[in-house]
Symmetry: none
Subunit: 210 residues, 4 copies
DNA sequence: AATGAATGAGCGTTCATTCAT
DNA sequence: TATGAATGAACGCTCATTCAT
């Protein structure tokens, strides 16, 4: 019985935490960490201000929890898409689509990740790169199997992946700065063209992206 | 003689302003607008707190002056490099190099531009895009003369340039997030390769970047 | 039951507000608006500085609340005394007594009303004259019934009342400037004599004040 | 020769002081001591800020000098009018006229005297009462000679004069508060009537004021 | 003697955090 | 457990005063 109760409580706590994180995510994204205001978070979450502090040690922890949850969601949504196919080029294509698509759906997270790279450099960067390198390994394996299958030219993977990732982030960042005037998904073809033209060895496959 | 005095005074005021802007640029970059603190700016500039306010109406104006000065510098340093050659491909290459090189030398500005896209969306974005579209026009002309000279394929310039710009920004952004572990300049060849491979028509010239 | 709670809360808030207003009244009276200092008000009220701002938007609102409360009290205390009799001359006598008596008991308010006639000309003057003209109407009616009853000579009421009011204020003002060396109440007979000698028609009644 | 030079210098210094006092009087009257701003005083006097401090030790001394000069002027202008006649009643009438007339011409001083009775209670009050009692003695002598000449009833002079003075001040104060809508001089007849009706013994003379 | 740039103490106000209920 | 009233450290900004020129 105890186990059941504990579980129930845990779920309740988790639900409360998520309820707070949803609001916090919105506010932090709109205002940035320093300008965001605990009073408003509490009010919008229909909770007393003290209650926020029962679930999160302080403003900083709340903020970092928002980041953590966001990066976890991102990871999950990419993995699902990547595992839908075995073709290396398709895997890469799916990853790019999933990455852009995720941020298009989770706009709050962009602002949050962009903003506070200074105040929380270490913590956020650490978390981001844990996530990033976790993915890099998988992407590298995908590229390698692409090379082995004669689909992709043999190049310096590390800097290529790093440049690709940077470029995608730049795309998302500028989309945000330009106030999301266009659909981010619509940039996928041109991105794939730029990424793949110099990289795909197999002529037939290359045609698909030119 | 009056002119001489006025000039001297102007130079003195300008020097003081720059002295303050240098420090402010550093602090704003490290802390972000909200966390940056006028007391520290004054102390680091070896000036009294009140002195800051003799030269800038308030914290916000000081911040925006930092941005304005930065973007002006950026524009100048790109223009100089671009005008060193008449060859369209070389012009583009030089612009990319100058852009990356500028941020490598003016690290503070990255943080500042990245940070406050929310608090100052309108003012910063406005200034940034004034700068950006000013350059876009010139770049477009360069591309066009490249197309006319049979060097570059005929494509949709606008979204290409937009994606290229976004990607460069992403490169700079991630370099900053990764704590500037590598030299940004070293990314130039791979960037040129990615940018140019699918774009250059002239086979001989394309070889230079492959 | 809800009503009860709401009422209780209202009373608590009202009590706190009054607690703050009492201290603020003292400090504003002693220092004037500009020199008065929120820190001291908080300390003397045994409250944190932030608490003041929970109950009053800012220093200005706090100040004006002190004035408003003071004028309300003044009005009430005059009305009570005036309504104790139906005789016009007695009514006027009672009003004068109540007016002087009020300021003798609420010394803080004198300083406050005297002080800030410049900084808050409009707001204070407006409130003061709302109060003043509210009373003038009543006083006029009293004078008129005095005239109808053959007690008072028929004169230009408006400038008479205006001069009488000014004179009473001068009395209070100088009493304050002279550091309240005498009892303000003791001036009542001489004031009545000065006011009434030239004004009362009825010989028997006039004798009372000569 | 030395004397001549010293005199010249003294005159120059005096002229500068007066130039500053004129401006200061205006500003202090409009803003009150605390809100008045040395920068503005300097600018309006067409002098450097430092120069103010060459002539007055600090803001407080400047303020008190304004008061001192004002009260001196007041004393002079009353004396001149009073000495124009030998008739006691006329002397009193002239004094009242001169008093009201002075403040009508020197509006700045009203604000200044009214304002800072708190911050400078002792200094201003001291100076004011030096002036006041200096006059009271003279007025008392005038009243006495009025009594001796059978013109005025024999009464308690001290409290009568005190009440009269207070009332005049009240008149001036309210005129200021009511934004000087009417001419202060126009109140003289009604004031004389109120003051004199109960006080003048000589029937013929009393008629003049009824 | 005159200036006005520089200064920093001081103040109004905000807001993350605590804690009595 | 949940609340929100209370707190006070912290910060932006002002302005009387000083002092090098």
């Amino acid at each position: 019985m105890r186990t059941k109760n504990t579980k129930k409580i845990k779920t309740l706590v988790e639900r409360r935490k998520n309820q707070i994180l949803d609001v916090a995510s919105l506010i932090f994204s709109k205002e940035g960490f320093a300008k965001a205001n605990t009073d408003e978070i509490a009010k919008r979450a229909n909770l007393g201000k003290g209650t926020i502090y029962r679930y999160f040690k302080n403003k900083k922890e709340l903020f970092l929890s928002v980041v953590d949850r966001g990066l976890d969601k991102l990871k999950d949504s990419i993995l699902i898409e990547v595992e839908k196919t075995d073709d290396p080029l398709k895997k890469i294509e799916n990853a790019i689509k999933a990455y852009l698509s995720f941020f298009e759906k989770n706009r709050n997270l962009i602002g949050i990740l962009i903003h506070e790279q200074s105040s929380f450099q270490k913590r956020i960067a650490k978390r981001y790169f844990e996530h990033y390198y976790g993915n890099v390994k998988r992407i590298k394996r995908t590229f390698k199997s692409g090379i082995e299958q004669g689909l992709i030219k043999d190049m310096d993977m590390d800097s290529l992946i790093s440049v690709y990732a940077s470029m995608l982030n730049g795309l998302i960042y500028m989309w945000q700065v330009e106030e999301r005037k266009y659909r981010l998904q619509d940039r996928v073809p041109i991105v794939l063209k730029i990424f793949f033209t110099g990289v795909i060895k197999d002529k037939k496959r290359r045609k698909d992206y030119e």
